[in-house]
C-alpha cells in the first residue's frame, strides 16, 4: 500500500507544483510576469485528482485517506515557498 500511495502522491504533487508555478495571483504578488505558456488547468486538475479516484476505485480507503492528508500538507508546503524570480520568469 505504501508504494501505491507514494506514487499517487508524487503524481498529484507534481500537478500541484505546476498549478502553483503558473498561478496568476502568486506571480502578481511577487512581481513576476504572467505565465507565458498555456496553463493547461483542466488536464493538470485531472492529473491532480486522478490518483485519489484510482485509490478509491481500488477499494484502498486507507491509501485514499493518507493521499488526501499528504496532499494537504505537501500542497501547503509548495504554496508556502516563495517563488524565485529568475526561474519563475523562465516559465
Amino acid at each position: 500500500m505504501e508504494l501505491t500511495v507514494i506514487v499517487a502522491l508524487t503524481a498529484s504533487v507534481t500537478a500541484l507544483a505546476h498549478l502553483a508555478h503558473a498561478d496568476p495571483k502568486r506571480r502578481r504578488a511577487f512581481g513576476l510576469p504572467l505565465y507565458a505558456k498555456r496553463r493547461r488547468t483542466t488536464i493538470t486538475l485531472v492529473i491532480l485528482l486522478l490518483p485519489g479516484v484510482g485509490l478509491l476505485a481500488l477499494g484502498d480507503s486507507a491509501g485514499f485517506t493518507i493521499w488526501i492528508g499528504g496532499l494537504t500538507l505537501l500542497g501547503w508546503g509548495i504554496a508556502a515557498v516563495r517563488p524565485k524570480r529568475n526561474t519563475a520568469r523562465s516559465g
Binding site: M1, E2, V5, L19, A20, D23, K25, R26, R28, A29, F30, G31, L58, G59, D60, S61, A62, G63, T65, I66, I68, G69, G70, T72, L73, G75, W76, I78, A79, A80, V81, R82, P83
Partner: protein, 526 residues
C-alpha cells in the same frame, strides 16, 4: 457568501478573532498534545523499552487466562478484558459492573492481573475499580500523561472532556467563519507569505495554512468533539431516552454480541487458537479481547483486530467460547451493518490517523502541526493588528511563552519520567510533576527578556537541547542502548531516539541561524 454585507463580515471577523483569542491558547494545548499522542503507542514502547518483545498475543494466552480466571468466584466471570501492555506484559481483568460509591457511576470492578506472558507469573494483582488507577493497567506513565492531557487537559471528569469538546467545536466554527471571512480561498491558495514582516505577511501566513488545512481542521474538530461529548452528554442522554437511564443496557445493546442466556457450565475452547484464527481471518494484529460469560454455554469471545490492509476501521470478530466456532464479524456498533455504524467506525482512525502504521500516523502528526501553526499564526495576526496597545503586546508575549513553553514542558515531563524510573520513584506522579516543573524555565525568560527575537532563540535552544538530551537520559537511566534494542527487535526505540536527535539539532540550527531582514515584495496582492 457574496450576500454578506461588509458589516456582517466585520462582525464575523470579530467573532472569529475573539473566540480564537479566548480559547486559542487552550486549543493550541489540545492540538499539540494530540499531535504527540498520535504516536502514543510508539512513545509507550520507547519509554518502557527494556523488556523483549515476544511473539503474537496468541502463544500463551489460553494457559495464562485459565490460570487466573478459573479459581475466581462466578461473579467475576461475567466479563473479562485481556490485552497486552507496552512492556509486553499481559493484563487480565475479570470484572463486573457496579456503582462506585465515590463517583456515583457504574464502573468496572474486579481483580486486575499483570502477568509475564512467557512464564505466566502474576507480577501484580490489584482489586478495585481498576480504570481509576492508570498504573494498574498502563506500563508507560508518559503515554498516560500525554493522552490524559490531550483528552481532558488534566481537568477532573466530566469537565475536562466538556472543555475539550467545546474546543473541538471552536475549531470547527473557526474553520467555517474563516472560510466565510476569507472569500478568495481558491484564488489565494498559492499566495505565499509576502516578505517584509508586514501585517500582510502575518495575514498571508495564517490564511495560507488555514486554507490548506480547512478540511482537516473541520474533521479533527468534529471527531474530537464526538469523543469528548460521547461519554459525557450523548450516551447518558441516549441511555435516558431509550433505556430508562440504564447505561449498562445501552452498552450491551450497542457493543455486546447478542446471545440467548444459557448458564449451563461448559469447558472453554482454546483461546489462543481463537486469537490465531481471528488474526489470520482479518490479516492484522489483535488489539483487545473480551470474554463474556466465561465457562458457560452462552460464552462469547470478542476479539478486536487492528484495521486490515487498505482499510480504516477495526474489526470485531466473535467466537463461541465453548466450541471455539467463529461466528463472524460484528459491526463495532449495533448488531447489523448500518451507515451510522460505519460513520462511528471512522471516528477513531480519522481522528488519530491510527490505521496504516507509521505512514498514516506521520501524516496525522503533520496535519496536527499544521493546525497548531494555524492557531498560533491566527493569534499573532490578531495581536499584530492591535500592537499599539500595551495590553495586547503583553498578550503577544503570553502567546510566545505558551507556543514554545508547552513543548518545553512536555520534554521536561519526559525527562522526569526517566529519572523517576531510574530512582524507583513513582513515574505516574513525577511525569505530571515534571510537566509543571518544566513551565518554570519557560515563563521566567518570558518575564526577563524584553525582546522577542532573543527570547525565541532561547526557547529553540531549550527545545533542541531537551530533544537531543532525551535519548541520552533514557539510556543513562537504564533504558535499552541501540545495539540491545536492535537485537531485541525494538526498532521503535531506535527510531524515536533518532527522530528526537534530528529534531533537536534542527531546532539548535534554527536558533543559531542569523535573522535576515527581508525586503518587502514590490507589488501588493490586492
Amino acid at each position: 457568501m457574496k450576500n454578506l454585507s461588509q458589516i456582517q463580515i466585520k462582525r464575523l471577523t470579530t467573532v472569529h478573532g475573539w473566540s480564537g483569542t479566548i480559547l486559542g491558547v487552550l486549543l493550541y494545548a489540545v492540538i499539540v498534545t494530540g499531535t504527540i499522542a498520535v504516536f502514543a503507542h510508539e512513545i509507550a514502547d520507547w519509554s518502557v523499552g527494556g523488556t523483549g518483545k515476544t511473539d503474537t498475543l496468541s502463544a500463551t494466552i489460553d494457559r495464562n487466562v485459565r490460570a487466573v480466571v478459573e479459581p475466581l468466584p462466578e461473579k467475576y466471570r461475567h466479563s473479562i478484558g485481556v490485552w497486552k501492555t507496552a512492556r509486553s506484559e499481559l493484563i487480565v481483568f475479570p470484572h463486573f459492573h457496579t456503582r462506585n460509591p465515590e463517583t456515583g457511576k457504574m464502573e468496572d470492578y474486579g481483580p486486575m492481573f499483570r502477568m509475564d506472558r512467557g512464564t505466566g507469573e502474576v507480577l501484580a494483582r490489584h482489586e478495585g475499580f481498576a480504570f481509576l488507577n492508570a498504573d494498574w493497567y498502563r506500563a508507560s506513565a508518559l503515554e498516560n500523561f500525554l493522552v490524559d492531557l490531550h483528552v481532558q487537559l488534566y481537568i477532573p471528569e466530566p469537565w475536562g472532556l466538556i472543555v475539550t469538546g467545546i474546543l473541538g467545536l471552536t475549531m470547527m466554527a473557526a474553520g467555517v467563519s474563516g472560510l466565510v471571512i476569507h472569500r478568495h480561498l481558491i484564488r489565494d491558495l498559492f499566495v505565499a507569505e509576502r516578505s517584509g514582516e508586514r501585517l500582510v505577511s502575518a495575514r498571508d501566513r495564517h490564511v495560507l495554512a488555514a486554507s490548506w488545512g480547512l478540511v482537516f481542521a473541520f474533521l479533527l474538530g468534529f471527531t474530537g468533539s464526538f469523543f469528548s461529548f460521547a461519554p459525557t452528554i450523548t450516551f447518558p442522554l441516549l441511555a435516558e431516552v431509550a433505556f430508562g437511564g440504564d447505561q449498562e443496557a445501552l452498552e450491551e445493546t450497542l457493543y455486546t454480541p447478542q446471545v440467548n442466556e444459557d448458564a449451563r457450565p461448559v469447558p472453554m475452547a482454546d483461546l489462543g487458537q481463537m486469537v490465531s484464527r481471528s488474526s489470520a481471518t482479518t490479516g492484522s494484529n489483535t488489539g483487545y479481547i473480551e470474554i463474556m460469560n466465561y465457562g458457560r454455554a452462552d460464552s462469547r469471545i470478542s476479539i478486536w483486530q487492528e484495521p486490515p490492509a487498505r482499510q480504516l476501521s477495526w474489526v470485531h470478530n466473535v467466537f463461541d467460547g465453548g466450541s471455539g466456532e467463529f461466528l463472524g464479524a460484528k459491526p463495532i456498533v449495533g448488531q447489523k451493518p448500518s451507515i451510522g455504524g460505519v460513520l462511528y467506525d471512522l471516528m477513531w482512525p480519522l481522528h488519530a490517523g491510527d490505521f496504516a502504521g507509521v505512514l498514516s500516523k506521520s501524516v496525522w502528526v503533520g496535519l496536527g502541526s499544521a493546525m497548531a501553526f494555524v492557531v498560533i499564526s491566527g493569534l499573532r495576526l490578531w495581536v499584530r493588528r492591535r500592537e499599539e496597545q500595551p495590553l495586547w503586546r503583553r498578550f503577544g508575549r503570553v502567546i510566545t511563552i505558551v507556543a514554545y513553553g508547552l513543548p518545553v514542558a512536555i520534554l521536561t515531563c519526559a525527562h522526569a519520567n526517566f529519572l523517576a524510573l531510574a530512582t524507583g520513584a513513582n513515574p505516574f506522579w513525577w511525569t505530571p510533576a515534571g510537566f509543571l516543573i518544566g513551565f518554570a524555565p519557560c515563563i521566567l525568560p518570558g518575564l526577563l527578556i524584553s525582546d522577542d527575537e532573543p527570547l525565541r532563540r532561547l526557547y529553540r535552544y531549550l527545545l533542541g537541547g531537551g530533544c537531543v538530551l532525551l535519548p541520552l537520559i533514557r539510556m543513562a537511566t537504564g533504558g535499552l542502548d541501540w545495539r540491545a534494542a536492535l537485537h531485541a527487535g525494538q526498532t521503535t526505540v531506535v527510531s524515536v531516539d533518532i527522530t528526537l536527535i534530528l529534531l533537536g539539532f534542527t531546532l539548535i540550527w534554527w536558533a543559531q541561524r542569523p535573522r535576515i531582514a527581508a525586503k518587502p515584495d514590490p507589488a501588493p496582492a490586492e
